[in-house]
């Protein structure tokens, strides 16, 4: 196994692991805020959860970007022929 492959695998692992930290914290904060809002105002739960889902999808996209980068490194790496 040559150097580029090793570095690619390392890079993929690092991208996914560190890329998951930020979205995880963000999603935790979002869910906590939504829980707080639902506890204060249970009648708005429908609107809140819909907005929460869309917001979570937005945040989650950041982690998905990291995943896509990792997959590109592993499967479509332009430097390993």
């Amino acid at each position: 196994m040559d150097m580029i492959k090793m570095v690619s695998i390392l890079g993929a692992a690092l991208a996914v692991s560190f890329g998951a930290i930020g979205p995880a914290l963000g999603e935790g904060r979002a869910v906590a805020a939504a829980m707080d809002a639902i506890a204060r105002q249970p009648e708005a739960a429908g609107t809140l959860s819909r907005t929460l889902f869309v917001g979570l999808a937005m945040i989650e996209t950041m982690a998905i970007y990291c995943l896509v980068i990792a997959l590109l490194l592993l499967f479509a790496n332009p430097y390993t022929v």
Binding site: G46, T47, R50, F53, V54, A57, E60, T61, I64, Y65, L67, V68, L71, L72, F75, A76
Partner: protein, 230 residues
Amino acid sequence: MNDSPLILQTAFSIGPVPITHVVLTTWAVMAVLAGGCFLLTRKLSVEAGSAQTVLELLVGTIDAQIESTMQRDPAPFRTLIGTLFIFILFANWASAVPNVEPPTAHLETDAALAAIVFAATIFHGIKSNGPLGYLKTFAEPSWVMIPLNLVEQITRTFSLMVRLFGNVMSGVFVVGIVLSLAGLLVPIPLMALDLLTGAVQAYIFAVLATVFIGAAVSGEGAETPRKDTH
């Protein structure tokens, strides 16, 4: 290691045109949906049977979701949003059929779906605000935002595509890896999670399409929400 998720496998070719498994699955899903819709809507009556009641409930739910997101009459958007939701839902759940990969686990299907949403955004924006009015919405709130608004159009379409692809493909991938580690019964909870993710992603795709189209429609000139044109 498994096959790359970025490469398509050809099933057979008709003349010079290669037909991939993804296209086959997509057409199968489309045939099932079109056939089901045809069978269900063939005998609509005022005194609804059980199948028609379920159908009405589904359409009513989609209508209510569109209306509460857009704050306007859902009729012009029902067909597009509803079709997107139901198609993506069934495409994601195609993984429940043995030996079938969901078409949305490949980038091409998602790119096509995101392109449809992109075109529909422009279409509805021009339809409700006029070409000049639609172009003017890019200069909201001030002309400084024009480059950002233009970039946003591209990036949000791209993220729509990558989000669906990443979620569905990672589900398929994880099931594949677990299957190669432990064969019997172990992947079943993951496959159930996969079905849940598929449903949530279909919902999110439809909601985001609604939000994008709603944002394009509700420009400065269209301050007449809820036109009663039933």
